[in-house]
C-alpha cells in the first residue's frame, strides 16, 4: 500500500515539473495563488479527521483544519480568478 503511494507521489512530481515549467513568467503570481488553492486539498484530510467522530480532541483539531483549509481553497481560487480576469480581458496589442 505504502509503496503504491510513493509511486504516485514521485510520478505526480514529474508531471508537476513538466506542466509547470511551461507556465510563462507573466503568470507566475496566478500560478502561485492557484497552486496554493489546490494545496488546500488538505481540506479532504481535515474533513475525514473532523468527521470520523471517534475522538473529541481529534475532531476539534480536524475542524480547525477544515476552517484553515477552506479559507485557503476559497480565497486562493477566487483571487486567482480575479487576477486571470485581468490578463484574459486583453487581446494582444489592444
Amino acid at each position: 500500500m505504502m509503496t503504491t503511494l510513493i509511486v504516485i507521489f514521485v510520478l505526480a512530481s514529474f508531471v508537476g515539473f513538466e506542466v509547470i515549467t511551461k507556465v510563462p513568467p507573466q503568470l507566475h503570481t496566478p500560478l502561485m495563488s492557484g497552486s496554493n488553492a489546490i494545496s488546500g486539498i488538505a481540506i479532504v484530510g481535515a474533513m475525514l479527521t473532523a468527521g470520523a467522530g471517534q475522538d473529541q480532541v481529534s475532531s476539534i483539531l480536524g475542524l480547525v483544519a477544515v476552517v484553515l483549509a477552506s479559507t485557503n481553497v476559497v480565497g486562493g481560487f477566487l483571487v486567482t480568478d480575479r487576477m486571470l480576469q485581468m490578463f484574459a480581458g486583453k487581446k494582444k496589442g489592444s
Binding site: 500500500m1 507521489f9 495563488s33 488538505a42 484530510g45 474533513m47 479527521t49 490578463f87
Partner: protein, 462 residues
Amino acid sequence: MEWITLVYLLSGVAFIIGLKRLSSPRTARSGNAIASLGMLIAIVATLLNQQIVEFWQIGVGVLVGGGLGAFFARTVQMTSMPQLVAVLNGFGGGASQLVAAAEFLRLTHRGDPIDLMTGTSIMLASIIGAVTLSGSFIAYAKLQGLKIIADRAVVFPGRHLVSALLLLATLGLGAMLVNDPSHGSLFLVMHLVAMVLGVLLVIAIGGADMPVVVALLNSYSGLAGAMAGFIIDNNALIITGALVGASGLILTKIMCKAMNRSIGNVIFGGFGAEGGGAGGGGPEGTIREVDAEGGAMLMAYANQVVIVPGYGLAVAQAQHVVRELADLLEKRGVEVKYAIHPVAGRMPGHMNVLLAEANVPYDKLWEMERINSEFDRTDVALVIGANDVVNPAARHDTSSPIYGMPILDVDNAANIIVMKRSMNPGFAGIQNELFFHEKTRMLFGDAKARLNDLVEELKQIE
C-alpha cells in the same frame, strides 16, 4: 475497488489540466475554473463518503473558512498579493499540520500501534506544516511592513547553529515519537520547536529575497499536504501535494537564478543585513536632479522610452498613473516598453499582475533577456522604484554582494531617469552607482505623486 479513490483521481486530473491551461493567459482563467471544479468534486465526494458522521459541524467550518477566504480574495489590493499568498500558504501548511496532529492523537488514544511509515508521515507533516505556518506569518508580517519585525534581514551571531540545533531537535523528537508514541507532551514540544524554526528561517531573510521565500513556502505547503496524504492513505492529497511541491520548487529555482544565488545562500545568507556597513566606501559622486518638467521634456521628444518598474511602484500604488503616462507618450508617437526583471517586486510575476490591473497590454511587457538589447536604442529609461535590478555593479564589481546577478542594462540608454523616494539604498543594503552615472537624472519623491506631475507636464507640451 473503492469508488471514492476514482473520484479523487478525477480531481487530481482536473488539477493537472488546470495547471496546464496556465501556460497561456487566454486559457488560464478556464484552467482555474476546472481546478476549482476538481476541488468541489473532491469535497462533495468526501462528505458523501460514509466515514463522515459530523456533517453540520464540518459545514459550519467550511462556511466560516470559505467566507473568510472570499473576503480576503475580494478586498485584497493587487499590490498586496504577496502578503495574501503568504497567509494562504500558512493556512494550507497549518491545515496539514493539524491533520497530522489529530491523526496522532486519535491513534494514540485508541492505543493502536503506529507503524513506521504512518509514524514517519505524521512527524514529517507536522514538522513541515509547522515550519510553513510560522514561516508564512513572519513573511506576511515582513511584507505587510508590520512593525513587530524588521523588513530587512534580522541576524544574530550563532543563528545558523541555533537553527541547526532546532532542526536536529525537532527531527530527533520525531524519530523518538515514531519509536514510542506514548509521550504525547513531546509531540507538542516537537510542534513548538518546528514553529520556532520556521520563524528563525524567515526572519533572517531580507525584503528583496522575499520572492524566493514565498515560492519556497509554497513548495513546503505542498509537501506538507502530500505527507498528510501518506498518513490517511489519500491519493488526492499526494498527487496535489506533489504538484504544488514541484511548482514551488521550480519558482524558487527561477528566482534564485535571477539573483545568481544558490538556494542555500538565500536561506542561510542573511543577505542585506551585513552588506550595508561592510563596504563603507561604496560609489560616490555627484547626484544630478531633474524636475517633472525636465523629465517630461526628455520623454516627450524621445523615440523610445523603456519603463522599469520595481517594488517602489507597488508601494506607491502607481500602476494606473504609469499607464496614463505611457498612453500620453504613445499618443505623441513615442514607443513605450516595460522591462520586467524576474525578481522585481516581492513575488514571482508581481509586476505583471500590477500592470495587468492597469490594463497594460502584455505584449508591451518585455522580459529581461529580450529587453536588454533594446536599451542601446532607447532614449529614456524610466526607472520607477527599482534599485538592485538595475545596479551596474552586478556586472563588474566583484566585491559587490549582488555581483553576477543578471540585471537590466538601463545604463545603455541615452538618458536615465530614476524615480526614487530618497537616496536610501535598496533592500540589498548597497548604494547604486547608477544613481551617480553621468546620464542619470534623479527625480525624488513619492512615485505616484511625481508620475502625476509628469503626466500634467506632458499634457502642457504641445
